[in-house]
């Protein structure tokens, strides 16, 4: 398959200073209904891996350190 990389601004932002994924926390990854968050293997922080967001907010509200902010996707804003 030919790959075409298209940059996009994803709705879920993670404050890496606050994220404690490297200590074993996976709350945001666990609660996302669409399973679009993941822990980056290199930075060991949470990030939005797939731009498939329902902006429903469990990740933001359940994060124990307040590291996550969900923006309304630009197409809807």
């Amino acid at each position: 398959m030919n790959f075409a990389a298209t940059l996009t601004q994803v709705p879920v932002r993670v404050d890496e200073g606050k994220c404690i994924a490297e200590k074993g926390c996976t709350v945001c990854v666990d609660v996302c209904p669409l399973d679009v968050l993941a822990i980056d293997l290199i930075s060991r922080k949470a990030h939005m891996k797939f731009d498939e967001c329902w902006y429903c907010l469990p990740c933001e509200q359940d994060c124990p350190t307040g590291a996550i902010t969900v923006d309304i996707p630009y197409l809807l804003r």
Partner: protein, 576 residues
């Protein structure tokens, strides 16, 4: 590829609203029953009520409404095409369920005497009960699942129900959306509670997951019921909702209506008498959108500051909590100007409309051992409380069925074919992505299936869907997550074809905008006062047939019968 094999008595597919209730009630009926609740997300935050719910839209509470009155209201709101016994089974169980939820810790609004604060939103009776703190709903359900010792498997996507020698439920199949491992779960019975088919139309914003329904609810259950041989009812009665323009939240007549908010045209004038979501209401909404008075707005700017604060507290903390930041981004303050509204993409959802997997008053589908509850099943206007009541009925009845049934052997050929279907996108290199297949299917749904419905457009739509079906063999998935999207894209395509076939079958117009058929603009009770059923025929094709409406148990007189046909505000004559 490894296949994980398991065996249970009852598998509940979908852990949102009706599913957890079905699992808990099956265990209460028989604590020894081996019950598995399976969800493709995580049960803690899955389904339509992932972030809670702001109220009950159909509470039948003694002193405020009777079950008979409610059955009559829904019969009229749904243009007469209802199985009244099934609606009555909900209505009769409604108050017991409210009391049980109350005991479990759900906080309903009560007045100073401790009575439930029921509000009127429907055309005839009063059935709306606010839950200002309804954001805790999923936590309460999860606690009950743990207490009842229900086994839970998260992140497994169920794709098919396999049947035994006599067409009865014998197993379910699926895969893990993180590892792609296959699952084969032998079971005597299954409850499908997979929610709406909400990823059918494409939202006007073009953002694939910006749907009204939780996008996990993409019609998997409708597709697996169809392939298991079950009947699906009235699929031409689409769900279309009045929403905030570009945001997927309802403008919320149920929350703002009782507090003085209403749907208005661009002049700030009311044009419908009742904001309750019916097909007739949506038709008037659509007419106004396209008229010189469009677009349509939610009007709150006339309300007192304290009322607006109350509305903001409920709407911005419950069900769709990102609503506040959407308005903030647009600089839209409820106090200062009206909020622009639009209509949603189409879907199947009996919660608000009337289509789904056909069930009777016991929650049974036409397949032995297969039950369905909530937005995916066919009981009309059922909402969250209906999902709970039918979850309970399905759980209890399935437990009894299991007690008298033994496990049968599923068809090995079907299992092999399904394993191959699931694994194909992973084995394929190159080709089309699941995103491309899904986007194109849903764009064509908008182009050809969105009402007003026109025969020639539907026929073009069907031929374009057939082209996409041929393209499925070249769809590839790079990882297990994409595999989930690839399998969902196939459910969406199944639902798109079902929507088209059902719509072409009913050669009349009914349910307002939901089935506004331009070639057959009139309602035709002589030929079409009946349900339509879709099922798979012997050749594996979609077949349609009529089913007579069951004899009414609550009579409806002629004056009441047309109440929902008179929604438009009458234009008053100028004083002479």
């Amino acid at each position: 590829m490894k296949t994980i094999e398991m065996e249970f008595d009852l598998v509940v597919i979908g852990g949102g609203t009706g599913g957890p209730m079905a699992a808990v009630k099956a265990k209460e009926r028989n604590p020894k029953l081996r019950v598995l609740l399976i969800d493709k997300a995580h049960v803690k935050r899955s389904g339509a009520i992932s972030m809670g719910m702001d109220g009950l839209n159909n509470a039948v509470i003694p002193g405020h409404a009777t079950p008979e009155q409610y059955v009559k209201e829904i019969t009229v709101a749904n243009d007469g095409i209802v199985d009244q016994e099934a609606v009555m089974a909900y209505a009769a169980g409604s108050f017991d369920m409210i009391q049980e939820l109350d005991r479990w810790g759900v906080k309903f609004e009560k007045d100073e005497t401790g009575d439930y604060s029921v509000r009127k939103v429907h055309h005839l009776g009063a059935y709306v009960l606010p839950m200002p703190e309804g954001h805790h709903m999923k936590r309460i359900l999860y606690r009950q699942l743990k207490r009842a010792r229900v086994e839970i498997t998260n992140r497994v996507v169920v794709t098919r129900v396999l049947t035994g020698p006599n067409g009865e439920v014998a197993a379910v199949m699926g895969f893990d959306c993180r590892t792609a491992e296959l699952y084969l779960i032998r079971t005597k019975a299954a409850v499908i509670s997979t929610g709406a088919a909400g990823r059918l139309g494409l939202p006007a914003s073009g953002y694939l997951m910006g749907t009204y329904e939780n996008p996990t609810n993409c019609g998997d259950g409708h597709a697996m019921a169809y392939h298991a041989g079950a009947d699906l009812a009235n699929l031409e009665c689409f769900q279309i909702n009045p929403l905030i323009k570009d945001y997927n939240g309802p403008a919320c007549a149920y929350v703002t209506g009782p507090l003085g908010g209403y749907t208005a045209n661009s002049k700030g004038e009311r044009f419908i008498e009742c904001d309750y979501w019916s097909g007739a209401m949506m038709q008037e909404f659509h007419n106004e959108l396209l008229s010189g008075n469009g677009p349509v707005f939610l009007k709150l700017d006339h309300l007192a500051e304290e009322t607006i604060q109350e509305i903001e507290t409920i709407l911005h903390s419950n069900e769709r909590p990102s609503r506040g930041r959407f308005h903030e981004g647009r600089g839209n303050d409820y106090r200062k100007k009206m909020v622009e509204m639009h209509i949603s993409e189409i879907g199947f959802c009996s919660g608000h409309s009337a289509s789904g997997i056909h069930i009777n008053a016991r929650g049974e589908t036409s397949v032995k051992g297969l039950y369905a509850a909530g937005d995916c099943a066919s009981v009309p206007h059922n909402y969250m409380l209906g999902a709970f009541v039918y979850g309970k009925l399905c759980g209890e009845n399935a437990a009894e069925y299991c007690a008298t049934t033994s496990q049968t052997q599923h068809d090995a050929g079907t299992q092999a074919a399904e394993a191959a279907r699931i694994q194909a996108p992973l084995q394929h290199q190159g080709g089309l992505t699941p995103y491309q297949i899904e986007y194109k299917t849903r764009r064509l749904v908008n182009d050809y299936l969105q009402p007003p419905k026109i025969t020639s457009k539907f026929l073009i739509g069907l031929s374009r869907f057939a082209e996409i079906r041929e393209d499925l063999s070249s769809m590839s998935a790079a990882d297990p997550h994409e595999l989930m999207r690839a399998m969902e894209a196939q459910s969406i395509l199944d639902c798109a074809e079902m929507a088209a076939h059902a719509s072409l079958f009913r050669t009349e117009s009914r349910w307002g905008l939901y089935h506004h058929y331009v070639d057959h603009p009139e309602r035709d009770d002589a030929n079409w006062f009946c349900h339509s059923l879709l099922s798979r025929d012997a050749n594996g094709q979609m077949a349609m047939r009529k089913k007579a409406v069951e004899p009414y148990i609550v009579p409806v007189d002629d004056e009441e019968r047309i109440a929902y046909q008179r929604l438009r505000v009458a234009t008053t004559a100028q004083a002479a």
